[in-house]
Symmetry: C2
Subunit: 363 residues, 2 copies
C-alpha cells in the first residue's frame, strides 16, 4: 500500500510529472559525453533561473544545507568575521555553520516573523568593515517571511561579500542575483523547482571566485571544495566525486518546466495561489503569523484557532485526506502551521483541496 | 534521443528495474510517518548488508565521498594522528580529507595494483599507538584490488579505531563489519547495490560512537554531523536536513533486491562473472593489472594490447555499442581500463556483450 500525498508542507513538494519521468531515464555514466552535455545545460538553466551570468553555477551533490555549508566553507577562513541576519531557523543555522568554519559571528537579530532590515545589516558592516561576508536568508522557511535583499547591493562598494539563502525563494518570488549584487547564493531542489530533495544549486560571482583563489588555507571540506568541483564541471572535466546522475536528470527537467512556463509567470502563479490561501485562512479562524507585506506566497505561516489541537488536526489531514502541512517552529511550535504552495503544488486545486478538507473536519 | 548504456565502468552501474520503479513512487514528506518507517527499514537492511548490529547505521545524503568525509570529520579532531593505507586514488583521498580535518597523517604506501599488507598497518599502529584511526580501502576502485581487512581486528585490543572504505565492496565480496572489528565504514549506492549515485551508507560501532561523545571540539561539518543526523534517524526524529526522499526509496529497493537474492548468492554471482571476464581477457591480448589473488571480481583493471589506442577503442565501444568501460587511473591512464561488473550488471550477458563487441571491433 503506497500512499499518495498532497505535500503542502515546507518542502518537499510533489515533483512535476515531467521530473518523475526524467528519473526513469536510462542511467548514464558521470563522465559520459551525453551526461556532461546535460549537466552543462542544467547549469545554463540554473543561470537563467538565478538571473545571472556567473560561470561558477552548478548543483551541489547534497540537499540545501549542503549548499549552505558549501558557501561558508569556501568563502570563510578561520578568524574571518561574518555578519548574519537572523529571523528564523535558517539564519540560526548559518551562524552555526559559520562558527564551525572558525568564523567570528556578528548576529543581527530580528524577532521571528519579521523581515530583516537591510539597513541594519549595512550598519553592522559599517561598524565591522573588515567583515568577510554579510549573510542573509531571502525567504525564511521557518516563518514564511521574505526579506528585502536588493538594498544590500551597496556592499559591492565594500570588501564584504553578500551571501544569500534562496532555498525557498528560487522560482517562487523575484530573485535577481546579478542585479542585486549577490556574490554567492545557494538554493534547494525540493521547493519551488518541483524536484525531489537531493541537490542544492549554487552560484558564485567574480568577487566570490576571487576569494576562492585568495584563500590562505585549504577548504575544510573536500566534498564541497568548489575549486575541485568546478574543475569537473568546467573544461577540464577532471573527476572529483560521482555526480548523482538521476537527481541531475530530475533537476534538468524541473528547470525545463520552470523556464518553459517563464520565471515571471511562475512567480505570478505562486503569488496568486498564496494570496488566495492567505485571504481565506482568517475566515476559518486562523491568524497569519508573518509580518504583513512580507509574507511569502509559497509558504504561509499561521496560528491555529485557540481551541484546536494542532497535532491532532495535522494528523487528521494526513491520515484522512492525504494532505501534509508543516508544523510550526519556534513560537509556532504546537500552535501553528506552515503551509507550502510550491512548484507543482502552487495551483488553485491545492488551495481548494486544503480548504475543503479543513471545512470537512471543522464542520 | 535518449541513449541506453550498458554501464561497465567503475560505477555507476545500471540500476535494478525494481529501483527505477521505486523512484516513481509518489513523494512523501521527510517527516511523514510512512517515510520514517521506510527509512527505519532501509537502515535495518543496511545492517544486514554490512553484517552488523550497529545502531548508528544510516545513509548519508551525498555520494561515497561524502560518506568518507562524514567518517573523518566525526572521528578526527585537529592534532589527531591518522594512519592511512594507500594503494590507489581512494587511499590518497583519505589522506587529503584527514589533513583537512587537521590530522597528522602517517601513510603506509604500497604500489598501485597491489594489496595493502595488514601487518604493515598494524606495525605502523604499534609505532604510533596514540593514533586515533587506522584507515584502509577494502576494494580500491582505481586499481581493482581487494585488501585483507580481517587481521586488522587486532586493533580492537588498542585505543586506535579501524575505518574502512567499502564503497566498491559492499554487496560484491564478503564483508563482515562486526566480525572483523570494523569501528566505522562507509559505502556508496551506485556500485554493487544497483542503485543510482547519491547516497552513502555508513555504520558506526560502539567505540566510534563513544568517540563522538568524547570529542573536545564540534564536528567541523554541520551537514555531516552524525550526532545531529542520528537524532533525526533515532527516536527523537529531530529535524536536521531534508532527506533525499527519492534516493532513499531507491536504496530501500536496491537493498531489497540484494537481500532477496541473499548476500552469499550475490557475492557468488559477482565472483563467477568477474572470473569469467578475467579468464577471457588475456585471450584478446589484454593483461590483468591487479596482483593475482587480490583481484576484485566486480572491477577488473587491465592493460590494453600495446598496439591499441585506449581512448579510441573506449569511444568506439560507447558510440558504436552503447557500452561504457572506465579509463585507467595512475599508471593505467591512457593505457588501460577498469571494467565493472557490479550489482544488476554482474551477469553473464554483460560479459558476452562486452567480449562480443570487442571481437567485432578488433576482428
Amino acid at each position: 500500500m503506497v500512499s499518495e500525498r498532497l505535500l503542502l508542507g515546507p518542502g518537499p513538494s510533489n515533483p512535476h510529472p515531467e521530473v518523475v519521468s526524467a528519473m526513469t531515464r536510462p542511467m548514464l555514466g558521470h563522465l559520459d559525453p551525453e551526461f556532461l552535455a546535460l549537466m552543462d545545460e542544467t547549469c545554463e538553466r540554473l543561470r537563467l533561473a538565478f538571473r545571472t551570468t556567473n560561470a561558477l553555477t552548478l548543483p551541489i551533490s547534497g540537499t540545501g544545507s549542503a549548499g549552505m555549508e558549501a558557501c561558508f566553507v569556501n568563502l570563510v577562513e578561520p578568524g574571518d568575521t561574518v555578519i548574519v541576519g537572523v529571523n528564523g531557523v535558517f539564519g540560526e543555522r548559518m551562524c552555526d555553520v559559520a562558527s564551525r568554519c572558525g568564523a567570528s559571528v556578528i548576529r543581527v537579530d530580528v524577532p521571528w516573523g519579521r523581515a530583516i532590515d537591510p539597513e541594519a545589516l549595512l550598519d553592522a558592516q559599517r561598524a565591522a568593515p573588515h567583515a568577510r561576508l554579510v549573510a542573509v536568508v531571502h525567504a525564511e522557511t521557518s516563518t514564511g517571511v521574505l526579506s528585502d535583499v536588493e538594498p544590500l547591493k551597496a556592499l559591492q562598494q565594500t570588501d564584504t561579500l553578500l551571501l544569500v539563502d534562496t532555498v525557498t525563494s528560487l522560482g517562487g518570488v523575484p530573485l535577481e542575483v546579478d542585479a542585486w549584487g549577490i556574490d554567492a547564493c545557494y538554493s534547494g531542489s525540493q521547493k519551488c523547482l518541483g524536484v525531489p530533495p537531493g541537490l542544492s544549486p549554487v552560484t558564485f560571482g567574480m568577487r566570490a571566485v576571487a576569494r576562492l583563489g585568495a584563500r590562505q588555507s585549504p577548504v575544510q571540506s573536500w566534498y564541497l571544495d568548489l575549486g575541485m568541483i568546478g574543475a569537473y564541471m568546467g573544461a577540464a572535466r577532471k573527476y572529483h566525486h560521482t555526480a548523482p546522475v538521476t537527481m541531475v536528470f530530475a533537476l534538468h527537467a524541473g528547470l525545463g518546466v520552470l523556464l518553459g512556463e517563464g520565471l515571471e509567470a511562475s512567480q505570478a502563479r505562486h503569488a496568486a495561489v498564496g494570496g488566495r490561501l492567505q485571504e481565506a485562512l482568517p475566515g476559518l479562524g486562523f491568524r497569519l503569523f508573518a509580518e504583513e507585506g512580507r509574507r511569502l506566497p509559497q509558504l504561509t505561516s499561521c496560528w491555529l484557532p485557540d481551541d484546536l489541537d494542532e497535532a491532532a488536526l495535522r494528523k487528521a489531514l494526513l491520515t484522512g485526506y492525504g494532505i501534509e502541512v508543516g508544523g510550526g517552529m519556534g513560537e509556532l511550535a504546537g500552535k501553528g502551521w506552515r503551509i507550502g504552495l510550491m512548484g507543482h503544488n502552487a495551483r488553485d486545486r491545492s488551495v481548494v483541496t486544503l480548504l475543503g478538507a479543513l471545512l470537512d473536519i471543522l464542520g
